[in-house]
Symmetry: C2
Subunit: 332 residues, 2 copies
């Protein structure tokens, strides 16, 4: 295993020290493993907290900042954060208007955020939870009951975060987050496995000409393996999987994210995005906004995920609202 | 070879179609292979043009937009663009105030930009050239006479681009670009090789426990190979190589980019950046601004480059000026 680490045991702590050095707009508790904005939550503002296993950077710490998250709780690589992290984060960022937990649907995450919500309620903090479960590849999988939560997390955090910044009450922020999740679908294809620092070897092995279709963001198996094919055909498969689950009509507006899983060159993501855009255009579907790049990664996995949100005008306006985080920044 | 491509021959063209679909703020001539801003150059504004082989994305097309480049000319993967591309770009973006060519120091690039400058002069376009040669690893290398041009290109394009946006005359814009290059140094370490679509196999092979120290952005050999070591020791080696060539004193302000070469997980870049920041801090050197992420890549190479610019207050102020490109965006 060749990685830029000091030891497999210290990866998260060492990375948080680097995040602190790079981003003065964030406050990092590297012992408690909580990332918050450096500025306190303004009175009346609902706070958004997310978290999950590390190894998916920039998710979630890279989305902390004005217009998006108030706090992120990173677990060890591919391991859920513990309830104490979310409880500490809630205590730090709650202004009295409550906190919204944004939780990717993995069994460990769901359980630990649920425990944290109960502990927070015990100390008088109002908590609403938004569950993200956008991956259409499989119904239940290695680490989930129900669908996995992946790329739609970025859309939920951005759009609900913008509404919270406007001072909306907690029920409304959480409800919009649920609407964004309900309007979003994802599907991923892996060309290679990934290697966690602790394991030191790939989680699975794909032959030189095979890909994993419908892979999860921890390398969990997808629908099937198949031969590598031209980008146009892979784009077909991704778009078809999503539209089969969420039909779209001509004139529908979407936010589309073509996300690299960590080791995919940007030039390849653009090739694939061009094909995705062509498929959607054939259906008359409008790509109103897009992201192409690495946003929800799986360490050093080569591959890509496609996330499509069927967005209404309110969602689009909130998407465009100012955001100032390490990984998404505009309007400020 | 497993890549998201349709065929090795169509990678650049297909990628440009994707760039066009993703970024309405750009205008893409996918036949002529020129990326420009969708908006015409305002009268009186000097235009900045860069370019080079593809495979380094987001460089250069990802840096076209307000506050940075006016045009980018992508060659085939790891192959210089041809003079006709730069001539066409100059004809498109020159407002009458002249164009500045920003050229990474590779023999093919230098020759082709020089030819383009002569052709442009023939049709009455004023051209100044800024050569970027920041890589301290080797004096001459596979593709260069003199030092290679790498990460400092981002600093030159951003800072000179901001000055051009303010309406400065061409001599001043070019002179500042040269100053930024002179104040910048880079050094890179590769953990793996990269695979071009045309070759279909890695350009070189590194044993499972070896790294290339001082590697170039096309996988050109560096200073030596060595065993993989902890991130703290690799950061030492990178910082030492740069400071040996450009001594810095306590209190000096810098812009620091810790750049992923394509396949390096962001969590590892943060681990390495934390160590780099600690080394610089021990010397009293101030990291006034920083970038951590993939900005000048080598396809799917795992590795990282460190670029340090010894910045004066003018450079810092221009760094902070608004920029609106696919890969760098703030203040707008």
């Amino acid at each position: 295993m060749k990685k830029f680490i000091n030891s497999p045991d210290s990866v998260l702590r060492d990375a948080l020290i680097g995040v602190a050095a790079a981003h003065p707009s964030l406050r990092i508790d590297s012992d408690g493993r909580v990332v918050t904005r450096a500025a306190a939550t303004p009175p009346g503002k609902v706070a958004l907290i997310s978290g999950g296993g590390s190894g998916h950077e920039p998710l979630h710490g890279g989305f902390v900042g004005t217009g998006m998250l108030d706090a992120a709780c990173p677990g060890e690589v591919f391991t859920s954060p513990v309830p104490d992290q979310m409880l500490a984060a809630a205590g730090t960022v709650d202004s009295g208007s409550g906190v919204v937990f944004i939780v990717k649907n993995y069994t460990g995450d769901v359980m630990n955020f649920q425990l944290a919500a109960e502990l927070a309620a015990d100390v008088g903090i109002t908590v609403e939870t938004v569950l993200v479960d956008d991956d259409v590849a499989v119904k239940d999988s290695t680490w989930t009951a129900g669908r996995r939560g992946t790329g739609a997390t970025v859309f939920v955090e951005k759009i609900a975060g913008a509404l919270a910044e406007q001072g909306a009450p907690i029920k409304e922020v959480a409800e919009l987050g649920r609407q964004v999740n309900a309007a979003s679908r994802s599907f991923a294809i892996a060309l290679t496995s990934c290697t966690t620092p602790a394991a030191g070897r790939p989680g699975f092995v794909l032959p030189d000409d095979e890909i994993e279709i419908g892979v999860g963001i921890h390398g969990e198996p997808g629908r099937r393996r198949g031969k590598i094919r031209p980008a146009a055909e892979l784009a077909d498969a991704m778009v078809e999987a999503i539209l089969a689950d969420m039909p779209l009509s001509a004139g529908d507006k979407t936010i589309v994210m073509l996300n690299g899983l960590g080791a995919t060159p940007l030039i390849e993501l653009y090739v694939l995005f061009g094909e995705v855009a062509a498929r959607l255009s054939e259906q008359g579907v409008i790509i109103a906004r897009s992201l192409v790049g690495n946003y929800v990664t799986s360490l050093d996995m080569a591959g890509a995920s496609l996330t499509v949100c069927h967005a209404d005008e309110r969602m689009l306006a909130l998407w465009d609202a100012p955001v100032n985080t390490p990984a998404l920044r505009w309007g400020v």
